[in-house]
Symmetry: C2
């Protein structure tokens, strides 16, 4: 089976200035891991047409799916929908279904020009409804355009997940140790070399109680994963405390 | 004065899997904003040589500085230093000064092969010391290679900041309103159109008490910023509550 991959494109000056701390990347990445979609790249770009179009056209060619967040509100700095239309070389105009979604929340007399902008959708795109703010995102080809506000993005992602192919979830096991990373690195390197099907990551931690490392093993095959966890446990238990976590 | 720009390249499977939530991007971005270095792009790539080298070579060409985080520890999945050497087409080998830094923390008898890997530095690079774990990062040309563990990255960034050019900090003012974004968008668009030197961003919020929008204005010139804030305040105060924050 071919791997299902994804990239995330975060659009917004406010993230790059550090004023707003992104909360969407980790959320999407974790959600995709759980359904076997491998997030392979993330980019954050400013509210600039050439940057958005450039990144989008590279990513949509390289990965199964691209998720964008941000820039689909009613204000002048919301230019994502127009950029997506340009990236795909299609027209963009007001979409009647999108207007109807807005009208579920906004009285007709309040539907001013700016709010109507939220119903501008590239031709050929399919709407992504959301129950939080009602203003829809949209899908065009393998690109899913979502809001930047986390609660709205999450509502849209629930819809996106029903539309995309799922892959094989990687089984994961976290092995925590109180051993310094430098003392396990030689051993882990050897184990990794002999088991190329397993992804072994090592992450040092520093707490007031001292140093240590968490070893995260991931594999498509649960039995292979259990075997590796047991090898690591027996290799390291002579050096320090080793605790093998759940196989998830 | 030419703008001083930066990109951040985050390296690590653990961020892309969602297991670890990045804390470095927002920290670096905010820190750079405060010294007038404009962060213009961020990429997150996996622990894969071709992805790291490809992204690095694009970013270092496009921006004044590139900051990388992650992948400089002692384990097999730490391949950043070797990738940087390849990206620059230079040799890499054990650096004596780096070994001496490690020896400040690690007894000689514990300096095994894996730990010595942390002293492998591309030729021509300048070390970036850190007082947390002692293992150094390094600078080569306009690229600064830092650790992924936030406490260590922050210690290295303190050093990096002493070495880079500072630009003109943008003055910032946050204007909070209890007005829905769709009700201010027309007005803001007009103000932005007439004042291209000011960056005006609008960020909706949703709380239990209702909706609203924060308007963030940024400018190189403080008087221009104060003028815009006053224009926005007087334009919006007929519609709802408007609170102009500090000019920072």
């Amino acid at each position: 089976m071919k791997d299902i991959t994804a990239a995330i494109l975060v659009i917004g000056d406010e993230i790059l200035s550090g004023r707003t701390k992104d909360k969407n990347i980790g959320y999407i990445a974790e959600c995709f891991s759980n359904i076997g979609v491998y997030c392979k790249e993330v980019r954050i770009v400013p509210d600039e047409e050439s940057k958005i179009i450039g990144a989008l056209n590279e990513l949509r060619k390289d990965y199964t799916y691209v998720m964008t967040t941000g820039g689909i509100g009613p204000t002048h700095d919301d230019i994502t929908a127009d950029c997506v239309a340009k990236a795909f070389g299609v027209e963009i105009s007001e979409n009647e279904d999108a207007i109807n979604m807005l009208l579920e929340r906004i009285p007709l007399e309040d539907l001013n020009e700016s709010r109507r902008r939220m119903a501008r959708i590239p031709h050929g795109a399919k709407l992504i409804e959301n129950n939080v703010s009602k203003a829809p995102g949209f899908q065009i080809d393998n690109v899913f355009v979502m809001a930047g506000v986390p609660a709205v993005m999450q509502a849209m992602l629930d819809v996106v997940i029903t539309r995309i192919d799922k892959g094989q979830k990687l089984f994961t096991c976290n092995i925590s140790t109180n051993i310094k990373e430098g003392d396990i690195a030689d051993i882990l390197r050897e184990i990794q070399k002999n088991n190329p099907n397993i992804m072994i990551g090592s992450y040092p931690y520093y707490t007031d109680d001292g140093y240590g490392a968490n070893i995260v093993c991931r594999a498509k095959n649960l039995n292979e994963l259990k075997n590796i966890a047991s090898i690591i446990e027996s290799s390291l238990s002579a050096i320090g405390n080793v605790e093998v976590g759940e196989f998830e």
